[in-house]
Amino acid sequence: MTNDRGTVRRAATLGAAAVLVACSSTSDSSTGPTDPLNESPLPVVATVSVPQAYGIHDMYVRDGIAFVCVWDSGVIVFDVGRGAWGGSPSKPVRVSSVVIPGGAAHNAWWFHNPATGEQRYLFVGQEGPGIIDSTSSGDIYVVDVSDLLNPRVVGSYHRDGAGTHNFWMDEDKQILYAAYYNGGVVAIDVSGTLPDTLALREISRIQPGGTQSTYVWGVHLFNGSLYASDMVSGFWQLHTANGVLSVAAGGNNVAERFTSDLWLANGYAYTGTWGRRGTTRGNALKVWALNPDGSPALVDSVITSGITTVSDVEVSASGKLLMFSTEGGGQDVGFYFYSLANPAHPTFLTRVVSSPPGIHTATFATINGRKYAFGAQDPSAARLVILDVTSLDP
């Protein structure tokens, strides 16, 4: 019928029809697997799809309000149990949203100021492009949420040559501690009414690993020390004197993997690991005992097969339940839960597998007497996943 030089009668409409009709489709013909959350051993009380504009990255849940950081779509405010808008964990109600300049809303902290009783400010971290262990970008934005229906950006903090990551606050002292990747850690005075630029509010900054080995992922204030997880140089204890930072102990103690998130409770610290360092996967959760002076000593490592990143770590308010989120694997990514009956050696309880590439961040919240885990599935099929974990931490 045809050959390389042959001539045949053909309708010229063939190509036209095929091209125009085929290219008019917007869908992807690949079909996804059955949602693995259907097999969850814990009640999945809600999943909330978010705009797919790079997905959901972190959540801050407090007093029945969830601030969900959805990258270029901004911070979306949900009522998940406050009641004012009829929301609950099983039926989150969208209240409002705010887009930060430049997009890339990554993480947040809702500041409850004990000195004034105000709940006015939400600090939002922006994550711009970067090269791990070298460069980073992204600013801190101050959002006035005194009217949750109309949040608005009122200020910012910028550092040349470095970008922010996760926060911790000393609310009593009104100090915001911000991990700043290659910039180390920054302490900022956030007392009173904040100006439109926080540059003059900076108290101190520190690169715990020095200029060559600093790439801080997160910070956590515990028993008067500020602890920092550095992707390159490991787990650090920092002294803080009303925000003036100095190195106390630790560091250069996780050489084989990149360190990720951290949490401290019960006199112990738990740090995650990230990606691949050389060929070694970030599939470990490190357990550190804190000496009387607060310095960390490694006592255990929990290895999870089939993953490459432990991306977020948190201990419940009771101190009994450890949760971490995992990414980068095939069928093993999602939420992992461990008992801290022996805090030095967590014991596996259960896991909730999500769709690849996994759960990017996770956090606990207690709402109306029940305990929930909020997780960010990201970046594919981005959605907020809410589990009832009361049975694990009664």
Partner: protein, 399 residues
């Protein structure tokens, strides 16, 4: 409606009407290359040897209305022959690293309206940017710079104008890359990206010079929230049988210059009897993305806009293809190809090639047979030249 279903419907609509249709000529061509590749330049440093059928395709070309309308369709079957990619150290993109990703099944579906002074083209296909697709060039192994020097598998509308030796092309297209072999362009993103290409073809020489520019919105994030690419390409191409040569430079700036990647490539071939020896020299920078449990796959789209670092790949390739006497309609050309690759870290960053690969340089060996039938492959990515073009430097014994 998905793409394949739409194509079936289009064909069904065409069949009853064919009696009334215009006279057209249809040409076809097909290719498959069983190739055995061995290399130690892989994550972990172990030696891998793999046999895959690479670059399998069926190409159709229909000319109608006395060549006033041309349809081009290329089906690519790598989805089935190499679903986990082809072992190519240095290759990257679309969620793969050190393996070349399979292309989409409906690789190209274009309508072209050629004329003396201008042309129009639309459909799914190549954006007028950069150099010809590597599949239509002599070297079997894809270069590292594929994602810097070509933009393909997009919903694209192209207009071109000629004036003597000059051709100016401009296009609108969707910035998103395919997300799987079954992927279709996100039509709602059509027009968010654009390109221009100026080509000079002096009439008395086989030399062709081009310079092109493209703005590509969020190529790695289908939803459109990723950083944008600003791309430049310049090349000089020479083709007069039996010699073919290409000298190419490309630069891509990501996210307003936060990351800038460069590439320089030179390649040549010459037909000598039944042999077609060829060579390539390439220096190309690429991003190092976080890898998944499968070390040949990356987190994609990249999380948090971050990468682990930048590496520079210097690759020298030499090979020879021997065109055997055709077996009926089938042409066979055994191919032997050697590449030596050096990997260097560029600037800061956590990625350490020596730790990841267990080496910083190594050999790649490929033995294969290029099996072809039907028409020779066109210059992929040049709709302004609708005449069927031969694969560069290939000497034809059967014509």
């Amino acid at each position: 409606m998905n793409g394949p279903a739409a194509l079936v419907l289009a064909l069904a609509a065409w069949l009853p009407a064919r009696a009334a249709a215009q006279v057209a000529t249809l040409h076809w061509g097909a290719q498959a290359i069983p190739a055995l590749t061995a290399t130690a330049v892989v994550p972990g440093g172990e030696t891998l040897t793999e046999l895959r059928v690479v670059q399998p395709f069926l190409m159709l070309r229909a000319d109608a209305f006395r060549h006033r309308l041309t349809g081009l369709a290329t089906g690519n079957f790598e989805k089935w022959t190499m679903p986990n990619g082809e072992l190519v150290p240095g290759a990257w993109g679309e969620g793969f690293a050190d393996r070349r990703h399979p292309h989409t099944v409906f690789h190209e579906l274009m309508l072209v309206v050629p004329a003396d002074r201008f042309f129009l083209a639309a459909g799914k296909g190549f954006v007028p940017f950069g150099s010809d697709d590597p599949m239509s060039r002599p070297v079997l192994r894809y270069p590292v710079n594929h994602h810097w020097a070509q933009i393909l598998e997009r919903a694209v509308a192209i207009g071109g104008a000629r004036d003597g030796p000059l051709m100016l092309e401009g296009s609108l297209f969707n910035g998103d890359e395919p997300v799987s072999p079954d992927s279709w362009p996100a039509i709602d993103r059509f027009g968010d990206s654009w390109s221009v290409r100026l080509t000079l073809s002096p009439p008395t020489t086989p030399l062709e010079l081009q310079v092109s520019y493209a703005f590509v919105h969020s190529p790695e994030n289908r939803a459109g929230a990723g950083p944008d690419d600003i791309k430049w390409s310049a090349s000089a191409r020479w083709e007069r049988s039996p010699v073919y040569g290409l000298l190419e430079w490309a630069r891509t700036s990501v996210s307003s210059g936060d990351l800038v990647y460069h590439s320089v490539l030179a390649e040549a071939s010459v037909a000598m009897g039944g042999h077609r020896p060829y060579g390539r020299f390439e220096v190309t920078e690429r991003p190092e993305d976080d890898r998944l449990a499968d070390p040949f796959r990356t987190v994609w789209p990249p999380l948090d806009n971050s990468i682990l670092g930048v590496t520079r790949w210097t690759v020298v390739t030499a090979g020879d293809a021997i065109e055997l006497k055709p077996l009926g309609p089938v042409r066979l050309a055994p191919v032997a190809e050697l590449s030596y690759a050096w990997i260097a870290k560029v600037g800061g960053g956590a990625f350490d090639p020596a730790a990841f690969y267990g080496r910083e340089h190594g050999l790649v060996v490929t033995l294969g047979v290029r099996v072809t039938a039907g028409m020779r492959m066109t210059r992929m990515g040049r709709y302004g030249s609708t005449a069927t073009m031969d694969e560069p430097g290939m000497h034809h014994h059967d014509e």
